[in-house]
Amino acid sequence: MSGQAAYPAFAGIEDRIDAIAVDGGSEPVRAAAELLAIGEHVLESWVRARGETPTDARKEGFRLLALHRQGARGEPSFNACRETCRELVYHYNLLALEPDHPDTGHRLTLAAMIARHLLLFVGGKLEVAGLGEFCCSSRPLRAVGH
């Protein structure tokens, strides 16, 4: 599925996530940090596409969660990735705090899948609807000029 990211600016990131899932086990803390950074990059892209400057603030110690809150402001359907962001943070914590845990390989696999989900969800929203709402908590398209 390489190079088929829904949003062109995200091309290559899926491949990188796959590579981290395969090769990251030897350095789980670094791999976890890179997955978290990918999540931040994805949300930064969403925030920038809305014409805003991505926040450097942290929520509960994580910039990813602050970026999600910023990205969801006025966009109810963006909350569909709220728990995905929280799961990414949770798996980052598991990997960073217990790198020698016997489940580290499994945790890294899941963390990569969570990061991929965030990428696909946000990429899909950016590509398909521009910045229009299409989802079930949506605002009327005509209200935002579509």
Binding site: M1, Q4, A6, P76, N79, A80, C81, R82, E83, T84, R86, E87, Y90, H91, H106, T109, L110, M113, I114, R116, H117, L120, F121, G123, G124, E127, V128, A129, E133, F134, C135, C136, S137, S138, R139, P140, L141, R142
Partner: protein, 314 residues
């Protein structure tokens, strides 16, 4: 605050709003919901002459019309059928009815539009608070509960590893679900667990599944099928990586999406997954000793019969 035992009594007989999906692609959900109600001695009475809840399409054109359509369903239930509880198994219907309830309680403009359109349509306008909308999970959790299921199922689902998938509509947005996040016994919007609780009571082993409320890509299905397929594939693969043999669903849109894109993922991307997809009502039905056909399992796209036979669930 309603006492738990009062709720159990209140929910033993409820109004049933199947919605459009359960009459079509989600037929197995409808059939299995009715089958377990019968088996458990719970009363389900269909809301008469119901209409579409407004789904997502109407909301995109005019959200007030969606509010009216959902309010009209509630008006039928209250004013024509004398119901005080409406159970909606579909996440979309449940979400929209709850949203209409919220809008009518908080937005005078919504009240004005609903009053005007109701008068034009010749029926009584629904007023906030006249009925309670609940999901099928609330219904079973309160009316039967884990203890009730435990007694009736004797751990029939033991050895079955399940990933519970709630989708994004069941808990979102939080403000339209004032009864959730109220501590022990209530549902959580960040870590929903009612489906986990019910299936565990029937003996199932719930796996830790990180994408239980993640987007299924339902809204992308027609506009960008590849993104939908990739989102679903990721959910299916995450469920398998979590050790699940089955994904339990409680939303017809998610369920159909998981099934359709499981097939498409193999055709389009050459990615085959083997995890089965069943409605939680079908799984509870099997646990209660109801046959697969009576639960509409043969109408699912995902063929689960091998697993059902292997696990001696029939």
């Amino acid at each position: 605050m309603v006492d738990v035992t009062d709720k159990a009594k209140k929910y033993r007989s409820v109004g049933y709003y199947p919605g459009c999906a359960l009459e079509g692609t989600g037929n197995g959900y409808d059939v299995s919901t009715r089958a377990i109600a019968k088996k458990l001695g719970l009363g389900l009475r269909d809301v008469s002459n119901w209409n579409c809840c407004g789904a997502m399409e109407v909301k995109n054109v005019d959200p007030k019309i969606q509010t009216y359509l959902s309010a009209r369903v509630l008006s039928q239930a209250v004013n024509e059928d004398r119901m005080d509880v409406v159970m909606a198994p579909c996440n979309g219907c449940y979400h929209n009815l709850k949203k209409a309830e919220y809008d009518l309680a908080h937005d005078p403009k919504s009240v004005e539009v609903v009053d005007k359109l109701s008068a034009k349509a010749g029926h009584k306008a629904y007023k906030a608070g006249e009925a309670e909308t609940i999901h099928a999970l609330d219904w079973l959790k309160e009316a039967i509960g884990e203890d009730g299921l435990r007694e009736r199922t004797n751990g029939k689902l033991a050895g079955l590893k399940i990933a519970n998938y709630y989708g994004c509509m069941y808990v979102r947005p939080r403000h339209i679900f004032p009864e959730k996040d109220k501590g022990p016994g209530s549902e959580s919007t960040s870590q929903p667990h009612f489906m986990d609780d019910l299936l565990a009571a029937a003996g199932a082993e719930n796996v830790s599944f990180p994408l239980k409320t993640a987007c299924c890509g339902g809204a992308h299905t027609l506009s960008d099928s590849d993104t939908s397929t990739k989102l679903v594939l990721n959910i299916l693969q995450a469920a398998e990586a979590s050790g699940a043999e089955v994904i339990a669903t409680e939303c017809p849109t998610c369920h159909t999406g998981l099934e359709m894109h499981q097939v498409r993922a193999e055709k389009r991307f050459g990615k085959k997954t083997n995890v089965k997809v069943l409605y939680f009502t079908q799984l509870l039905g099997l646990a209660l000793g109801i046959g697969p056909r009576a639960l509409g399992i043969h109408t699912n796209i995902s063929d689960s019969m091998d697993l059902i036979i292997e696990k001696r669930l029939t």
